[in-house]
Symmetry: C2
Subunit: 547 residues, 2 copies
């Protein structure tokens, strides 16, 4: 079969990926530092992105009833003018059902070959993808390149590898023999993983590919056709993935509607219609909790990543300056528009350091200074904070209550003078305050004054179990205290990162090594990528046969 | 640690069980045919059961506010007079939370040792368990012995083996090293499977251990303390499991409230209160769909086996007599009070056999004759059909509409003259009838007249996707037709058993080889035991540490 040749072409990478799944070590085959690529590739990517502007995005080669698009570059502060094909929700479903007839009958190897080939094709467009991401999300070049390109591709590969491993868990056929005294019962047993049906993957505005491709590739490897519903303000990056997938599928003689991009507009959303359609059996969702809770209430197989409140717990440190720099970078990076970024820093009245005890005020001063250091860094400042994806984020921050320690400032981008940028606001609050007890997405940091670490952990734990959290960063020089923090926070199903300094940041969740989300608290019900992330997408049936 | 010694004692069995998980071959370490046991053991078991009658069941050694019990033997037709300890729902929760503190911190090996030791202890009580099951469910001796004893223990072992395998999936600790050009990022990563919390396992009246122990042992191996809520009319058999579990846990110096039996009465049920309690995070349920749907609507991790309508599809056969005998036995066995028993037999106008074509009427006559053969078999008749667990089952059957082919008859039990027994009612209906399109649990069989196999499959498929099904039995001599049936029925997530004759019956689902339920249609959302059956009971967290 011609389709198997793609599998053989990518078999080595797939096998390495499967082997890497259990080791939880560094494995990032698509991650090459952009500097390793030539300036020529960068220029080509930028040019390719430029050619897409103000055009219809025709490379999807999809059914089209009308063209829509309303993306605005947070860096340019004007629309990028790209329009995407759109049809009615029922037409997407109809196409998907039709495509399903062949896709579900392909072999695991055929699907794996196609999916890995699509990642190869996307790899050739990493620079274009970076610019597409920058001008829809406001991310800096470096983050846009890494998150939307190699790191997303790594996550997609992880989902494929996990899928292949689980789909191969049982032998396809077994001659079952049960001894019955004088004779035996002989039955042929045939095991099949049956895909659940149509999958819907709902993207978010800030990480249009990184959060979308795990569910997309997990669905596809398990034999489920998939409709991608991107955020209307952040379509382009995932459209590039979808286009490459559709091309490879078509080249292999299959119906390219195995994957469809279903774009919509803020004024005329189609997400609910698609999610509620009875033919849609699987829903992957990244976004706010309000809509996420609706998605979870559907009687379907759903995978969610919703909002949460991430905590930093400072107990004791070696050097406060280094710690403050680490926290500052995690907070400044893309202006806290990452679901892994800390919102609240719990600081007790006294913090032990190797050079003496610091008060809350002194610790706060260190953090403020470090944030100022990042923001005002002439070369890296605006690169680190990037731009704000949408205005609502800034509006919410204005409502924040607390003692202002650092006022928001407009940050000048050298390259993009019109960029919607603002440095983090820092406020201090008492532990009793309610101000920090809801989620604020964007450039805001709460420094919360507590009696001691026990109170810090108690409040962080309650917030995690009620509002969810994806990360927890903790600093302690005391092994017993570390143990206490780990136990208490793990109880509410959030992992703890201890004493991060230097190049280690709480925001980083590497494919193949870190789980992203645990699925155990209100921040979401799924994890990139535990085994349930693929196993829940298909059903084992075991036929039996006597002759 | 003293607790590890139990692990070492049972390690060999556990390792074999883990190895057996993927092979899907015959593996049944607890299944020894009762004849292999001595008559002495049988007598001892009967005596032990006799001693329990009309007494308080003290061996649970549980907190007691009052004693309750209202079980009635379907064989004797009077109450067995055993009373069980009961406390308020909130007290069970409180006890469970307290016991959780130590249980969740035990090692996987400690828990595995305790659980396998409890199965050893139960094994010594298999005969007692058989009589306990007979006199609460109405099962015959042979079925009660097999289902409640060895086959249930095999299923419990399967859950433990699967749990151990999945809990050990990742290394406990990894030195993670990410190359960063001139230097590298070094992080210690620590992986922990964190139990979700308190589990509630809700039993059914007909298979009080077989359907209960998978969830129970799966919860326990994953570190979740568990409350068993048996059906008020079928407590004794699972009480024996609970008593042995509690004894072993206590002997190991742990809080025996890791497992509690929460008995209730029909008049004063506590299931809803327990299921809705916020501390209960996991619910396993076997029973009717109405309550099952309520359980599935809870925002918890739930595993259900509800009701369904199982089909037989007759296309063509070698020898109709053999086929009729196979169907008849599957229908008569425990009077169709098994969730795997067929309800509807789809028969086309013409059925090819090796000796010519038979009409619907002729096929129906074969089946009726075969059922009569089983029912009136002097030695095996009453043994096969057993007794009816409760009166409501018989009342429902009286409402059935259709052309009566075989009237119900009271069947005389040699040993139990007062047994509540009734032979299967057989009716024939047209495919257009609605009579057979809802679930009838108990001794009733519908022969459904269809145009052809295509219609048979179409109707069976629709019934499966709307009402659920756990099994499908099909007879065809044509490979293409077999392929068609398998594809159509697998699409609605039900496995097909082809051409069962002799000692092979559709009702049989062997641990380690067959999945019981697929989780893909309305008959339930879980499967005994796919990997999700254990993986959804705990959460992976990955702590990270830099020094």
């Amino acid at each position: 079969m011609v389709q198997e040749s793609l599998y053989l072409q990518h078999k080595k990478l797939l096998d390495s990926a499967i082997a890497a799944l259990h080791k939880r070590q560094f494995f990032s085959p698509y991650a090459e530092h952009p500097k390793a690529y030539s300036a020529e590739l960068d220029a080509q990517g930028k040019e390719a992105f430029g050619r897409l502007l103000n055009q219809n995005f025709v490379q999807l080669n999809q059914d089209t009833e009308h063209w829509i698009g309303e993306e605005v570059s947070p860096l340019w502060n004007y629309g990028i003018g790209i329009h995407y094909p759109a049809v009615s929700p029922s037409k997407y479903i109809e196409n998907s059902q039709k495509a399903s007839k062949s896709w579900k009958n392909t072999t695991i190897e055929t699907r794996a070959g196609i999916l890995l080939e699509s990642l190869e094709r996307v790899k050739a467009r990493f620079f274009e993808l970076a610019y597409a991401t920058m001008h829809t999300t406001g991310q800096s070049f470096m983050m846009a390149f890494q998150a939307s390109g190699p790191h997303a591709a790594d996550r997609a590969l992880e989902a494929v590898a996990l899928g292949v491993q689980e789909l191969r868990r049982y032998p396809q056929q077994v001659a079952f023999s049960k001894p019955l005294g004088s004779h035996s019962l002989e039955v042929q047993k045939i095991w099949k993983p049956i895909p659940k049906g149509i999958g819907l993957v709902i993207g978010c505005s800030t990480f249009p590919t990184w959060n979308t491709v795990p569910g997309l590739y997990a669905n596809l490897i398990c034999g489920n056709t998939t409709i991608i519903k991107p955020h209307p303000k952040s379509i382009l990056a995932i459209a590039i993935f979808a286009a490459e997938l559709r091309k490879v599928i078509r080249e292999q003689g299959l119906d390219s509607n195995v994957v469809q991009l279903a774009s919509d507009t803020i004024a005329d959303p189609i997400t609910k219609k698609l999610a509620e359609h009875p033919a849609v059996k699987l829903v992957d969702y990244t976004g706010g909790s309000f809509f996420g809770n609706f998605i979870e209430s559907l009687e379907k197989t759903v995978f969610t990543e919703k909002s949460g409140i991430n905590s930093v717990i400072i107990d004791s440190v070696d050097d406060m300056k280094t710690v403050a720099q680490n926290i500052a970078f995690s907070v400044c990076l893309y202006s806290r528009q990452m679901c892994t970024a800390p919102q609240n820093v719990f600081i007790p009245q006294e913090v032990r350091t190797s050079t003496g005890v610091l008060t809350f005020k002194q610790v706060a001063a260190h953090i403020v200074e470090a944030i100022n250091g990042v923001v005002h860094h002439p070369k890296m400042g605006s690169e680190t904070i990037g731009a704000i994806q949408n205005d609502a984020t800034l509006r919410r921050i204005k409502e924040v209550q607390g003692d202002l320690l650092l006022a928001p400032q407009v940050v000048h981008h050298n390259q993009y003078p019109n960029a919607r940028s603002q440095s983090p606001t820092v406020v201090s609050v008492d532990a009793q305050s309610v101000a920090y007890r809801s989620e604020y997405f964007g450039p805001i940091l709460f420094l919360v004054k507590t009696e001691n670490t026990i109170e810090s952990v108690a409040v962080a734990s309650v917030l995690t179990s009620t509002h969810g959290a994806i990360t927890c960063l903790a600093f302690s020089q005391d092994e017993e205290v570390q143990k206490f923090i780990a136990e208490q926070m793990n109880e509410v199903f959030v992992p703890v990162s201890f004493n991060m300094t230097g190049a280690g940041f709480v925001n980083q969740h590497a494919a193949f090594s870190d789980f992203h989300g645990t699925g155990g608290n209100p921040a979401g019900n799924a994890s990139f990528a535990d085994v349930s992330f693929v196993n829940r997408r298909f059903v084992w049936v075991g036929n039996r046969k006597m002759e």
